[in-house]
């Protein structure tokens, strides 16, 4: 019995070690920003983190899947998944008319700045499974950089990095999202087109 248990432990640890290494590029690396406590420092290397102050409280990325990109019906949505004050939360930006068939199409977003007030693009805020559309008062969403990630000369993901901030009405309540920044990888496991 002891031998079986030992063998099981060895096998499990071997499998876990192997899985961890394969997933290193998908892991989140949170480098604290001393200028903006609680938020990750702005980076452009695919650290799989984002953060913003949502009404002065830090809203930061989930360690597991910080972003899902969903392309459907001729639109593409970017769902930033994280927590705020220990509550699950998500902010979704939908680019109306931007259709990505595969994740590498996101490279077209390199240095694209969106004025959220003067466009058809939409923001939705999900708090504890309740999703509400936000009526944008003002704000911008800037994809500063879109980069291919190549491993051993093979493309494996796209890294999107940039900043965002806006003011909006959610359920008639005015809110401010400020100092937003993101540095996230999008690959086959978190890009969905249907």
């Amino acid at each position: 019995m002891r031998v079986k248990l030992f063998a099981l432990l060895i096998t499990m640890s071997w499998l876990m070690t192997g899985c961890n290494d394969e997933a290193v590029l998908q892991r989140s690396v949170f480098v604290n920003d001393p200028q903006n406590p609680g938020l990750p420092k702005y980076s452009e290397v695919g650290y799989n983190t984002f953060g913003a102050y949502y009404d002065r409280l830090a809203f930061t990325s989930s360690e597991v899947v910080p972003i899902k990109v969903i392309a459907t019906g001729g639109n593409t949505s970017f769902k930033l998944i994280g927590t705020r004050a220990s509550r699950e939360m998500a902010i979704t930006l939908t680019l109306v008319g931007f259709s990505a068939e595969k994740y590498s199409d996101l490279l077209a977003l390199d240095n694209v700045s969106l004025d959220l007030k003067d466009s058809d693009n939409a923001i939705a805020i999900e708090d504890e499974s309740t999703e509400e559309s936000a009526q944008i008062l003002n704000g911008t969403f800037h994809f500063k950089r879109a980069q291919h990630v190549l491993v051993d000369a093979q493309p494996v993901a796209i890294v999107l990095s940039g900043t965002f901030e806006f003011q909006a009405l959610v359920n008639g309540e005015p809110i401010t999202v400020s100092n937003g920044r993101f540095d996230v990888g999008v690959g086959t496991d978190n890009f969905f087109a249907f």
Partner: protein
């Protein structure tokens, strides 16, 4: 000069020794371009193995004071220094890998999957040692030593073990990211030793103790600080 002057005095004890040593070396891996498993909070805590050691062999001469309480020795030493990133132990290679950042352009980040980076250097050096023999001679006689060494780097080779062997021709893309080690290294240390036997002609000694580098960039891939090891000596009394 001191050695040579003392050597001329016939009444002093003079010894010629052959030394052999092995040291484990403590260092901080240079992981600036490495994306490895890291804790969620902070890139500074990468789970990356960095292992360094040195082996050396040398010959030296020693002259002792008239009362045989102190000895001054000087000689020539060949040192092989090995540093590695990703190697988990002295005896085995890694089965894991890390990502090495080759370059970042306007629209791309390029990594190689690397199992291990190894850098080996060969040095010729001059060790200078002061020995203190405070105890009466017995079968096992304890003594103490302060030592220093200046070494010149004769050659260095850096090799990369890729996960994908097709990348082997691109070794330079990785090695060029690291600085060359300095040409000259210097160390200082202290140790305690034990002389075995009471022979007047032949003596064996075994020493152990810490030492530290007096300069940085002794290795290009690990920031070496110092080490701890053992030294075996065979002495012939002249």
């Amino acid at each position: 000069m001191l050695c040579m002057c003392a050597w001329a005095q016939d009444t002093r004890t003079k010894r010629v020794s052959v030394e052999l040593g092995f040291d484990g070396i403590y260092g901080i891996p240079n992981d600036e371009y490495i994306r490895a498993e890291a804790s969620y909070y902070g890139e500074a805590e990468k789970d990356l193995e960095g292992l360094s050691y040195r082996r050396y062999i040398g010959i030296k001469g020693e002259v002792q004071t008239l009362d045989n309480k102190f000895g001054l020795s000087c000689g020539l030493r060949y040192t092989y220094l090995n540093s590695s990133l990703g190697r988990p132990s002295y005896y085995s290679s890694s089965s894991d890998f890390f990502y090495f950042l080759i370059k970042q352009t306007e629209n791309s980040i390029e990594y190689f999957k690397v199992k291990e980076i190894t850098q080996s250097s060969h040095y010729l050096g001059i060790p200078v040692e002061v020995n203190w023999y405070p105890f009466m001679e017995n079968f096992l006689t304890c003594y103490f030593k302060a030592s220093a060494e200046v070494g010149y780097r004769v050659s260095t080779k850096t090799t990369v073990a890729f996960v994908n062997r097709e990348m082997n021709p691109l070794q330079d893309a990785v090695t060029d990211r690291f600085e060359e080690p300095r040409n000259v290294m210097s160390t200082m240390g202290a140790s305690v030793g034990v002389k075995i036997g009471k022979s007047k002609k032949v003596a064996f000694t075994l020493e152990t103790g810490p030492w530290g580098y007096l300069n940085n960039r002794t290795s290009g891939i690990v920031d070496l600080k110092g080490g701890f090891g053992i030294q075996f000596n065979l002495h012939l009394v002249l």
